[in-house]
Symmetry: C2
Subunit: 125 residues, 2 copies
């Protein structure tokens, strides 16, 4: 993972429902060779998918990783799902990088966000 804190961290904002979300929860193996390069490449590739809205990622050291991808509609997700490099990476993930994972694909029905104001609180979304 390349978590260089070049910009302030912020969660992907709430979008107008409905939209789609893919939640990918993982436990990694010991052998992570090649992972970060592939991860960086996929992060670039997904940005070219029309309807891609953003991605959140969190990784507990030595524990669970969660990646959430947000897409405008089911077609955008289908396009990403059928991307050849993405499919090759999934295959390598099962062969090498992941001890276990679960993927949940869902239609977002409601969402909201909060960002702290200067005085300590301002809602949005």
């Amino acid at each position: 993972m390349s978590e260089l804190p070049t910009a302030p961290v912020a969660p992907v904002a709430a979008h107008e429902p409905p939209y789609y979300m893919a939640v990918f929860t993982t436990v990694r193996t010991q052998d992570q060779s090649g992972y970060s390069e592939t991860d960086a490449r996929l992060e670039q590739l997904v940005k070219d998918v029309p309807g891609f809205l953003g991605m959140d990622h969190a990784q507990t050291p030595g524990g669970l990783g969660i990646t959430v991808g947000y897409f405008r509609d089911a077609d955008a997700l289908t396009e990403w799902r059928s991307n050849a490099e993405h499919r090759a990476a999934q295959q390598r993930g099962r062969a090498q990088w992941y001890q276990s994972y679960t993927l949940h694909v869902a239609k977002v029905e409601r969402s909201h966000g909060f960002t702290r104001g200067p005085a300590g609180g301002a809602a949005s979304g």
Copy 2:
């Protein structure tokens, strides 16, 4: 957070769709006093909600946190949403613990899981 590695980490398994999922993505403030006690209490409380299926959590040190709660149906989520202690914790979260957050509530349409077999691969879900 109380991440005592008492058991092997595993992501919540895929359930039979449809089910509901609440994705809560957060950036914390400096002032986390009282957070871990409240977090532990809520983790216990949510287990009493009929239809609660499980929870995944990952936290990048100094970065993003993601919590995903899984529920059998919208009613289960509504019950958790209206829990008095949960609501009080949300209020305190906005006042003290969170710099920013986003909540996405969604209906899961498909899901699958993977767990590595002894020889290096076995699919499930």
